[in-house]
Each structure stands twice: as C-alpha cells, then as structure tokens.
C-alpha cells in the first residue's frame, strides 16, 4: 500500500515547462533589446539620414556649380560614386553602434542578465550578429537606393545620370550596404574583445581611419604594397564605382579580405566571451 507524500514537501516544478533557450528565441530577444533603446534608434536614424541624404546634397551642390567645374571633372563625373558617398559618414554611426551593442551590456551590467538567461553564451553573440546584420543591411540598402535614385534625378539636368542596370551601378549601391553591414559586425567583434565602449570605439577608429594615415607616412614603396590590404581600402572596394588609381584589390577580393578581418575579430570575441568571467 503506497502513501501519497504530502504535497508541501515537494519542490514545485515550473509551470512554464515548454520554455527552452533556442537560437530563434535568443534572436527575438536581441531584436527586442536593439529596438527598445533610445540610443540605438537615434544612431540608426543618423546613419539613414547620412546614407540617404549626403549623396543628393553633394550632387545638388555640384549641379548648381556645374559650369565652374573643369572640363576634365565634367567628363569623368561619376553619379554612382556620388550617390553612395553617404557611407563615408554613415559608417561612423554604424561602427559606434556595433561596438555599443556589446559594450553597452558590459557597462550597465545587463550582460549578467543576458548570460544568466543564455548560459551557453555564444548564442547571445550569434543572435546579436544576426539581428544587427539584418537591420543594418536593410536600412543601408534602402538608404543607398534612395540616394541613388535621388542623385540620378538631380544630375539628369546635365545628362550625367546612370541607371541601376549600368555596369557596376547595382553592385556599388548594394556594396555600400554590404560594406557597412560587415563593418558593424566587425565592431561587434571589437566590442566583445575589449568589453569597454571607449576602447572599442578607439579600436574601430584606429583600424579603419588611423592605419591608412600611418601607412601614408611610410616610404611610398611600403605604403603602396600594404595600403590595398588595410581594412578600409579592402572593404570599400565593393562600394566604389570608379577607382581613382590602380593600386587597389579587385572588388570582391578586397571585400572578401574585409570579411576575413571581421571574422577574425568575431572569433576573438567569441573566445573572450566564453573564457572570461562575466
């Protein structure tokens, strides 16, 4: 004869028995985290305005001064390059946001909540990368297309417009979005390695914008041989319609190298996140 033990002695089992940590669940969580911070929304808005607006603004100024341009400048005017030029400014916002996506969690302590919910840790990093890549690519592609069509409409008055079907035009427009997406992912990696906002942003600026400056003060033979491999120069091949010189990597080779740099940063971040105490 069996006796039912008193129920009060039994430790309760969670009523939420169907709950499971899965990558799709973590992706949803990271999407919520990204969209619910005011700083994120502002930074993304700035990047969209820069990417969509800078090209048309420059084009409008150039068209109004068209007669003052030298004949050579008019002959080589590239409305595709002008159109996607917004990446020069937008990349700064994207890079900073990439760093903040991780370091913002470390500086506030949120990372402890994140890692307690997902103790295997790496799904948090993968989910951040997936969400950030999707959001950045969608926004930058849309902005890049807006800039492209706006600029072509502006420059039509002097008949220097391009169609999206012209050689390299579509690739450049999509490339501007691709470059910035991978840049953002690399910055998530930098943030994960350094876990400190100031350090992460310093590393991003140093790798992208300081290295070319240092390279430029080296003997020109040295500069010529390393310059094409620097992150900025390699990464932006895909967002460039017509190159100023010949010292650059082929479009997709350069971009592939840039993806390699990003992969190295992300791998180091993954190792760091797994090894370090939170």
């Amino acid at each position: 004869m069996s006796v039912t033990p008193p129920t009060a002695e039994r430790a309760p089992v969670s009523r939420l028995r169907s709950a499971r940590v899965t990558l799709p669940h973590v992706v949803r969580s990271e999407w919520t985290k990204l969209r619910t911070l005011r700083s994120t929304r502002w930074t993304l808005l700035i990047s969209v305005i820069a990417m969509a607006g800078l090209g048309p603004l420059v084009a409008a100024v150039q068209m109004s001064r068209w007669n003052q341009l030298r004949p050579h400048e008019r002959l080589t005017y590239d409305s595709v390059t002008t159109a996607v030029g917004g990446w020069h400014l937008a990349q700064l916002a994207i890079g900073v946001l990439g760093v903040l996506v991780i370091t913002g969690e470390y500086s506030t302590g949120m990372i402890r909540s994140s890692l307690m919910a997902v103790p295997r840790r790496l799904p948090v990093l993968w989910a951040k990368l997936i969400v950030f890549a999707a959001v950045t690519f969608a926004l930058m592609l849309a902005s890049s297309l807006i800039a492209f069509f706006a600029v072509q409409a502006i420059v039509a008055q002097h008949h220097v417009q391009h169609g999206l079907g012209d050689p390299g035009a579509l690739r450049t427009v999509v490339g501007a979005a691709l470059y910035q997406t991978v840049l953002g992912l690399m910055c998530i990696g930098l943030g994960g390695i350094l876990r400190n906002t100031a350090g992460g942003i310093a590393a991003f600026v140093a790798l992208l914008f300081v290295l070319p400056g240092i390279s430029a003060i080296l003997p020109s033979s040295v500069n010529d041989s390393i310059s094409p491999y620097l992150p900025l120069n390699a990464g932006t091949t895909v967002a460039t319609h017509s190159f100023g010189g010949s010292n650059h990597l082929a479009t997709w080779t350069g971009f592939a190298l840039f993806c390699g740099y990003a992969a190295v940063a992300i791998t180091l971040a993954a190792v760091t996140i797994m090894r370090r105490d939170a």
Partner: protein, 314 residues
C-alpha cells in the same frame, strides 16, 4: 538542490574561494552568511555560471547551470550587482529575458504585477530607486517560475518598507515549497528567515549548521562572569583542561568552558565567597562574529581596536 563541490576560485594571486563544499537542500530557506569580502557573491556567481571556478564544480539538480536547457525555469537569481540596462524600461528588460526562453508577454505582465511595478513598468530602469530596482530584480528572478531562487543581499540598502517587502516575499516563496538560497552579512536578518545556515569566511567554509544548533553552541561557549573577593583562589580552583580564565578587572573573572552551575559548585567546594555569578549568554550576532572573527578580510584596527565582522567605513 544546489551542490557546491570543492570549488576553488582565484582572481590572479588572490584566492576568493578555497575548496568550498556545501549543499543547499530543496524546499527550505538556506542562509549564506559571511562578512563582507568572504566570497558569498563569488560563490553565487560560480553557481550561476557567470564565474568559472579554477577547481571543483557547482551543480543545480545535478547539472551545471550552463547545461540547463531552460535555466530561468529552474533557477531565478537576484544578484547584488546591477544587471539591467539603464536605458531600457522594466517591461522591455523582462520581455527581452523572457523571449530567450520563449516565455510570453502574459508572464511578463504577471511578474510585474506580482512585484508591484505596474505603474512604472514603461519607465526607464535607470531612473528607478534602489527599492524599485530590487523589485525589478525579483521580477526577473521569478520570470521562469523557478523551483530554486538565489538572492544576493536582497535587503542591502533598502528602507524599512523595502526590507519588509523582501522578507514577506521570501517567506511566501518558501511557503510555496521553493528552494531559497539567500546571502547576507547580517546574522540578525538571517535568524528571522533561514532554516539552515552556511557560513563562510575568507572563501572557506566555517559552519554548515542550523540556526538552533548555532544558538546552543554559542551559549555553551559564552563566558561566565564571576565576581569574588577571593578571585585568585577561585582562579586556581577552576583551573582545568578546556577552561579559559581571564580577568578583565580586579576581582572579576571571565570563565570559558564551564557553566555557571559548575563555577558555583566549585566555589562552594573550596569555600570561596561569590558576590556575583552571571551565566553566559550569546546572541546570534556574537556567535557569528566569534565564528568569523579570525576570518575577516579587513579589521577596523585603524579606528582603534579590532571590531570583528565589520569592514572599515569606506
């Protein structure tokens, strides 16, 4: 059930936890006591997979925290250090945590209601008072309706109303049959809530006992105070193995290792006059301080005399 098995944790040269072993049994409130800096938070962080031990391991229901398929439904934790993005609202913070487990918005609203944050749930957590922050932390801990709850110094810095709220909540959790593991550096606070006590100092286990046993032991060890005009003769009469006698002033003895009855009878046998005989009494607080006195990391010596169990004022 939480099992901490031979855990050693070093931060550089500093040993935070030294071969620490204890078990938190299910369905009761276990108090985790130790002076500041004893390693309580580190132990909890090791249990929760936030810190990786150099040796040993901690398991929850037989598994490492890291291997739990839905950790929030098994263990809920409120850490002492803040763990909330200041720019996010309470609702969105909880929602983002719930979503990692596929837990719905209904449960998020439920825990917000439970801790009484409904009115401020849409406000940025950065503007929360300490008490509201603790409530949000408790809401996060209860999100997965876990059978085990770990709380690190939940009453620290709270006003009396907040402390009362935390206590009521803890009793409620225990009454529901949940395992509660609760840290504090205040013995008095523990005596009111805990059934079992795990006491550590400098990262080592000092005692693994019940509140009742600790009181008995403390009273037994407390000194008997005796006043006599023949103090020197009495001292000789009482001298025996295991008896420690001190004389804080002329004509007064503090006797450790004997009961007041034994002291009185010994005096009578030797015909010694006693003016006063006070039985040893020790509060839990004293018992705790005596246990941890030698293991406090920082003594308040610069402020004149050691004050065991306290950190110097920062």
């Amino acid at each position: 059930m939480i099992e901490v098995d031979s855990v050693t944790k070093r931060f550089g040269d500093k040993v935070a936890l030294q071969d620490l072993t204890f078990t938190v049994r299910p369905g009761i409130v276990t108090g985790f006591l130790g002076p500041n800096g004893a390693g309580k938070s580190t132990t909890m962080r090791v249990i929760l997979g936030l810190d990786r031990p150099n040796e040993g391991r901690a398991t929850i229901n037989g598994r490492s925290y890291r291997d739990l398929p839905a950790p929030l439904t098994e263990v809920g934790a409120l850490l002492e250090a803040r763990a909330i993005h200041t720019g996010r609202s309470a609702y969105n913070h909880l929602l983002s945590m719930a979503q990692t487990h596929g837990i719905g918005r209904e449960r998020v609203r439920e825990v917000i209601e439970l801790v009484g944050l409904s009115e401020v749930a849409r406000k940025r957590a950065g503007g929360f008072s300490l008490g509201m922050g603790q409530r949000l932390g408790v809401a996060a801990a209860l999100l997965g309706d876990p059978s085990t709850v770990i709380l690190d110094e939940p009453a620290n810095g709270l006003d009396p109303e907040g402390i009362l709220w935390i206590r009521t909540m803890l009793r409620g959790l225990a009454a529901e049959g949940r395992t509660v593991f609760l840290s504090s550096h205040l013995m008095a606070e523990m005596a009111q809530t805990a059934d079992h006590l795990v006491i550590i100092g400098r990262g080592r286990l000092i005692a693994d006992t019940t509140v009742a046993d600790l009181v008995t032991q403390a009273s037994h060890d407390a000194a008997v105070i005796v006043r006599s005009p023949q103090a020197d003769e009495l001292r000789d009469a009482l001298a025996a193995d295991g008896v420690a006698i001190a004389s804080p002033e002329r004509g007064v003895l503090e006797v450790q290792g004997m009961t007041s009855a034994q002291v009185g009878e010994a005096a009578a046998r030797h015909g010694i006059v006693l003016h006063e005989l006070i039985a040893g009494q020790a509060s839990l607080e004293q018992a705790f301080m005596r246990l941890t006195g030698g293991d406090v990391e920082f003594h308040a010596s610069i402020f004149g005399g050691p004050e065991p169990g306290r950190e110097p004022a920062a």
